[in-house]
């Protein structure tokens, strides 16, 4: 049952990726200025004949669709080509960047989920705290991620000097501010949905039974109410995968972390469109796989869905 679902979703992901790659390739191809134009701009000794020969050599004189097919064939064959900007094979750039982004994403997701569920439980159990928690969620929803990052840099790196302002020499000191920034920007939905879900779960009759049996409040909350409340929270995680990844890309740019976001941004700024396109496709596939994973967790939690 789950196997068929996974198969169908993987097929969907493949189709979406193919359509996205075609659209992006055509859009980029419509732009004036190909790599040969850039080469001419860089070296005035190149003549028009040289340019024409180079175009023919690299297949740039072919129609756009033929170029796309050739490109897709080589990518599917495992050859991602070369980055003009970094003078390296694209595959060598994507690997480390993806790992760095996944590290940031994973830690931020854990922190956002943990803090969101904790705050949600606080709001659900203690009505006095419901107002402040709601206000915090509203602020988290409205704050621009990059501005929060800037403020944290100004406070902790510039004014207090406790943490580095950016980069990624490794170690938790370089991860702390980006992870907190990204987690806070994605906190709102988890907080609100866990508060609402816990509130309705705690109103169920089986909770009164558990209390009557003498179960402690903590046990009632985490053993009896939370398993049911977790389902909508995981559903939110699936829905928010795209927002989380988008936030990660902004966070990386603000903190100058070498990850997928910085790679895409640098590639776009440096007109290295092969790199930008492939990085975009990798990010899209990762997002869709994350959504699929969250959906599978949801089905595992909720047998009614399976």
């Amino acid at each position: 049952m789950a196997g068929a679902l996974i198969l169908r979703r993987l097929l969907q992901i493949a189709v979406t990726t193919a359509i996205l790659s075609l659209c992006a390739f055509l859009l980029i191809g419509l732009m004036p200025g190909d790599p040969i134009d850039l080469a001419i701009a860089g070296d005035p000794r190149l003549s028009a004949a040289d340019a024409a020969r180079m175009r023919a050599l690299h297949g740039l004189d072919q129609p756009l669709l033929a170029r796309y097919l050739a490109w897709a064939q080589s990518v599917l064959g495992g050859n991602f080509g070369h980055s003009r900007l970094f003078a390296q094979p694209v595959s060598a750039l994507l690997g480390p960047a993806l790992l760095s982004t996944l590290e940031l994403l994973g830690l931020a997701l854990l922190l956002a989920l943990g803090a969101g569920v904790g705050l949600g439980a606080l709001a659900a159990l203690r009505p006095r705290w419901s107002g402040p928690v709601q206000a915090l969620a509203l602020a988290a929803q409205a704050v621009p991620t990059f501005w929060l990052g800037l403020l944290l840099i100004i406070l902790f790196a510039v004014t207090l000097g406790w943490l580095p302002a950016g980069g990624a020499e490794g170690g938790w000191r370089f991860l702390l501010l980006p992870v907190v920034t990204l987690a806070f920007a994605n906190l709102a939905a988890y907080t609100r949905h866990s508060a609402a879900a816990l509130r309705s779960a705690l109103a169920e009759p089986h909770i009164r039974t558990a209390r009557a049996k003498g179960a402690s409040e903590a046990r009632v909350l985490w053993r009896h109410a939370w398993p049911n409340a977790a389902i909508p929270v995981v559903a939110v995680a699936a829905l928010d995968a795209g927002a989380l990844v988008s936030g990660a890309l902004v966070t990386e740019t603000v903190f100058a972390r070498p990850g997928m976001g910085k790679l895409i941004f640098d590639a776009v700024m440096g007109s290295d469109f092969n790199l930008a396109l492939l990085a975009l496709l990798v990010v899209a596939v990762v997002t869709m796989l994350a959504t699929l994973a969250a959906d599978l967790v949801q089905r595992w939690l909720d047998p009614r869905l399976a």
Binding site: A142, P144, A241, I264, T287, M288
Partner: protein, 272 residues
């Protein structure tokens, strides 16, 4: 509702009052004054000056015009496209519904920002807009944001329209021989006013956030035209010299988005 409307109203008034404030203070927010860089807040410059000696308050007010206009335009365009698509999907059903909803699913599954970054970097001349002018930047960015914003509206409208179309009064109208176009316009659309209003309010906030992010990255509204996002573009390098310059534009974005979300929340609560 009140808090959100007051917040948004104050921001819109401030945006409208930008030329008045410029006249009252007697500076030009576009004119560099290099002898007056990073001036601290004073009577003359209530929020101080930026790295080119321009008045921060006046640039903030002018930025409000750009940022709010882009946010509103993008949200309205997204609402029009989304409402049309949602109604069409619900009413026509079949392959039209399947095609529109698969497209919406596909777009929702993708992370919007990297796509926006690549699309925003495309040459505006390729789609017939002049380069480097503030107005064409604004149209370009609003269009791009609408391209992604319609999806949420379309899904809400489709879900609402499906339930309205199955109701008895629609069947009664059909039985009376009312035309399909009139049924959609007069019977279905008014029933959907609430979800559409909520979706629009949320879309304005989302568009203001997205515009500021793109402009911060240098891909949105290009200077010298101020937007809340591009006022922050240099804030990172200036963090040591002028940390306060980074404060105000972000606060303005926060308040604008907060206002939109509060209004959306209030509308949905009123309904219940």
């Amino acid at each position: 509702m009140k808090a959100g409307l007051i917040l948004l109203g104050a921001l819109v008034l401030a945006a409208l009052a930008a030329p008045l404030a410029a006249a009252a203070l007697g500076h030009d927010p576009f004119l560099p004054d290099l002898f007056n860089r990073f001036a601290p807040p004073s009577v003359e410059h209530p929020l101080g000056t930026d790295e080119l000696g321009r008045d921060v308050l006046l640039r903030l007010l002018h930025g409000a015009r750009v940022s709010l206009a882009v946010g509103l335009a993008a949200a309205l365009a997204a609402t029009v496209i989304g409402t049309t698509a949602g109604l069409l999907a619900a009413w026509k059903g079949g392959w039209m519904d399947a095609a529109l909803m698969r497209l919406a699913d596909g777009m929702l599954a993708l992370p919007a920002l990297p796509l926006l970054v690549i699309l925003a970097a495309l040459d505006p001349a390729a789609i017939g807009l002049p380069r480097g002018e503030a107005l064409s930047d604004m149209i370009r960015i609003a269009g791009l944001l609408a391209l992604f914003g319609w999806v949420g509206v379309a899904r809400l409208v489709r879900a609402g329209a499906l339930s309205v179309l199955a109701r008895d009064f629609v069947r009664a109208a059909r039985a009376m021989g009312v035309g399909e176009a009139r049924i959609l316009r007069r019977h279905v659309l008014p029933e959907l006013a609430t979800p559409i209003a909520i979706a629009t309010a949320l879309a304005v906030g989302g568009a203001v956030l997205a515009e500021s992010t793109l402009s911060f990255l240098g891909l949105g509204i290009a200077p010298p035209a101020p937007s809340w996002g591009n006022m922050l573009a240099n804030a990172q390098e200036l963090a040591f010299q002028a940390p306060l310059v980074a404060l105000w534009p972000g606060l303005a974005i926060l308040l604008a988005v907060l206002g939109c979300n509060l209004v959306a929340d209030a509308i949905s609560r009123q309904r219940r």
